[in-house]
Every structure is written in structure tokens, then in C-alpha cells.
Symmetry: C2
Subunit: 221 residues, 2 copies
DNA sequence: GACTATCGTCCCATTATGTGAGACACAAGC
DNA sequence: GCTTGTGTCTCACATAATGGGACGATAGTC
């Protein structure tokens, strides 16, 4: 119930509350209009979540995401063997390319950024940790996760997902399956219109290093 | 209901599931024994949470914390104006002391670590992000949040919260109220038995810088 | 191959559970 | 004064969560 259409359960409503609070702190009345829930219900849910530390009140008495979530979020990140194992390789890649780098994993019908480091330049691409992008969308990361990889092991996209930004991505394999995509992205001015020429090799190397560091098997047994 | 004793609602059970999964991935049966919930209930809850991305399955089919939580966790961290504003000051403090540093905020009857950086040394104190410690407990951080501050503006504790570790903490004020505590902690061997002498000044300076960077008013209007 | 154990998943009658309109107290503004 | 806006709480009602048990797979043992 609630996951399909029709009946909506407590849990679904509670998640809506969290979703709304993720955007910004909300007073009760704001919460009511934002969620569409009746005042009494919104209040009960928010205070119930508050009792669990998932929601707290800020200095102005508004509801915000609670401290419990920072602990859960950290644990969730660590639950990805990849996220941790990829850190060193990503840092190397970011430092050698001087552009923002990300690690994406497929999740249902989207791809989620589970690790990201930013370019040192003032003008840079930013993909927030945890950001969820459509899997069947644009960008070299999406292509890679859908199995569209060039002969050299990488895929590039120029001004595809967002105007002015280009990116190169390479797949991370486990037992012959693509489990993640490493991406480098930045403004076309710096990456040129053929970012693959510049970064392709480095991205593929980083993906392979992640494979090794995470203890994955690149080929089928 | 459920927050007191007696009736336990869906939300409470869902949180229990998350709590259990925070420790480690669990198969359904493990989840059942860990939570004490009936199999059908545990399954329904876990799959409901899965539908919202708060829970996912790992490669072995077990339940783990989901990707949605990494986004929520990040948002929760950002919802603390302090956590972000404190980063620079904490990094400076960590680099100058070469010991682990933390920022604690009071929350109900506990104190929560909302920012932490670790010592470069092999032997070091680790307080995980989001960790929740009793507010009326031991340690210089607890003391500071309870208003027990020495004349120099800091408080030290030696082998108090945990054997072998000493710490120094200083308060962050807003409008005359203590809103957070900055701590430096490390093994007694390095910090000496009078860590305040060594780090007191630096910790107080960091706390004041955080106050400034976060745009807080140290005194009453 | 048959037997048993344990797994994840799903059904459905039962009732405990969450529901939400409305009452309430408090504060600010006209 | 009155009005409008908060946040909070209650309570009769019925909806939504419950959990014992059934089911099909898979794995191991004899």
C-alpha cells in the first residue's frame, strides 16, 4: 500500500515529510502546504520523527532534518564497499585532471552519486553526494551504465546533460557486470570538445584501480 | 503512541529496522531476530523502506541502508549552519595540534558529533560523524556543554570518558548561550596529563573563529 | 530421488492503529 | 476589544498495518 497508487501509509507520509525538509527547514504550516497533509497529521508525523532524531527543530522552531540522519547517512555511504575503496583513485584522478570527479552506481531507474570530489578551479561542475539522476538520461555516466562504451573503454559527452559541460566516463566491472561509472566533468572551455582524448586514459585507469582496490573480479569466472 | 511505552507504531518499527541495518547488512531472517519483529512484518517494512530508497539490497541480497540516506545525511549536515562553517577552523586546529578534533552540539539529553577530523598519527581518537554521546556523561566536551568552563575558556579531561585518552574543549557561543563544543582529543602519551596547557589556547581560538565564521553573536544584545 | 530445513515472498481475516476535523491556548496585529 | 495566525492535543471512527500461516525455491543430507 502506498507504494502503488491509492492508499498511502504512515511510512510514505513520513518519507514525504523528510523529502520536503531536505529542501529547507519548514514551520508546521509551511510543512502542511508543502506536503498537502492535514495539520494534525503533519504535526504528529513531524514530532514522531523528531522523537527518533530524524527531525529536529532549528533555532527558530522550524522542523529540519535531524542529527540521526547524519549518522545514518555516513553508515549508508560506508555500506557501499565501492564508495570507500574508490576514494584514493578518485583523489588521484581529480588531482591529475584538475576537474570534478564522481562515482555513480545504478539504482532502480536512476543513477546515484555515491562519491564525488571537486575541481580546484573556480568554475567547476558540482554533483552533490547522494544526487539521483535518471538512468536513461543524458551524460556519459548514464551511457556507461547502460553499456554504451567506446572501443577505448570510455565514453564522452559534450554539452549533453547540461549546457557547457563535457564529461568522460568509464565503467567499473564486477564479474563481467557494470557496477559503477567513474566520471570526470568540467566546462567545455577547459575539457575541449573531445574530452576523451584528454582524460579518457586516466578515467579508465581510475576505474581499473577502483576495481582492484575494491577487490572486484573484472572478468567472468 | 510508541514514543512512550506500550503501543508501537509503524514508524517506530521502521526506525528499528534502520537502526539494525546501520550496524551491518542483514538477511531477512537476521533482521527478524535482530529486531524481534515477526517475519512478515519485518519483510513488509524492509521492502517498504526499499521502495523509498532508504534501504537497498546488497550484492548478496541482504538488506542495507539505501542511497537515499546518503543524500538525506548530507542535507542534514548542511542544515547545521555550524557544521559547514566550522570546517576551516577545525582543519586548522587539527593541523596545528596533529590530534583528532570534533564539534559537538547538544541534542535532547545527548551530544552529537556533527563534524570531525582525524589525527594524522597512527594512534588516534576516532569519534564517528553523527555519533551520539550522553550529555550528562564524561569527557571535556560534555563538561563544556553543561557550562563547566575554566577561567581560561577551556576545560580538560584526562582518561575520563575513555581510558588512555585526554581531551580539551571550548564552547561556541551564540547570544550568550553555549551552542556547541570544539574538542581536541588524543592519547595521553602525546597530549600529556595537562592537555589544556598545550592545546587550550588553540581550542579557544578555533571556537572563536567558528563563532565568527558562522556569523554568531558571542554576547547578549 | 525423496526428505527436511531454511530461505524469501505473499495472502487475508482481524483488530489495533493512525486518522484528521475540530477544540484549545497563546501571541501578534489591526 | 476582536481577529488571524501560530503550535498542540483530543477522541470517535474506519482505514491501514498486522502476523499466522501458506507457498515456491534453493541447499544440504541420507
Amino acid at each position: 500500500m502506498g507504494n502503488t497508487l491509492g492508499g498511502v501509509g504512515v511510512l510514505d507520509k513520513a518519507v514525504v515529510v523528510l523529502d520536503v525538509l531536505e529542501v529547507s527547514p519548514q514551520s508546521l504550516s509551511e510543512l502542511v502546504t508543502a506536503t498537502g497533509l492535514p495539520r494534525a497529521t503533519a504535526h504528529r508525523l513531524a514530532t514522531a520523527l523528531e522523537a527518533h532524531g530524524l527531525v529536529r527543530r532549528d533555532d527558530e522552531g522550524r522542523f529540519t532534518l535531524g542529527t540521526r540522519l547524519v549518522a545514518l547517512g555516513r553508515a549508508a555511504t560506508e555500506a557501499f564497499p565501492l564508495a570507500g575503496a574508490a576514494q584514493k583513485a578518485l583523489r588521484e584522478l581529480r588531482d591529475s585532471t584538475e576537474e570534478s570527479v564522481q562515482l555513480f552506481v545504478p539504482e532502480a531507474d536512476s543513477r546515484v552519486c555515491i562519491a564525488a570530489l571537486q575541481s580546484p578551479h573556480g568554475l567547476r561542475t558540482i554533483v552533490p553526494l547522494g544526487a539521483s539522476l535518471p538512468l536513461l538520461g543524458l551524460g556519459s555516466g548514464a551511457r556507461v551504465l547502460n553499456g554504451q562504451i567506446g572501443a577505448q573503454g570510455w565514453t564522452e559527452s559534450v554539452g549533453e546533460r547540461e549546457a557547457g559541460v563535457a564529461s568522460v566516463s568509464a565503467p567499473v566491472f564486477d564479474a563481467g557486470l557494470i557496477v559503477a561509472a567513474v566520471s570526470v566533468s568540467g566546462p567545455i572551455e577547459r575539457t575541449t570538445k573531445h574530452p576523451g582524448r584528454r582524460y579518457g586514459e586516466a578515467v579508465v585507469a581510475a576505474a581499473q584501480r577502483i576495481q582492484r582496490d575494491a577487490g572486484l573480479r573484472p572478468e567472468l569466472p
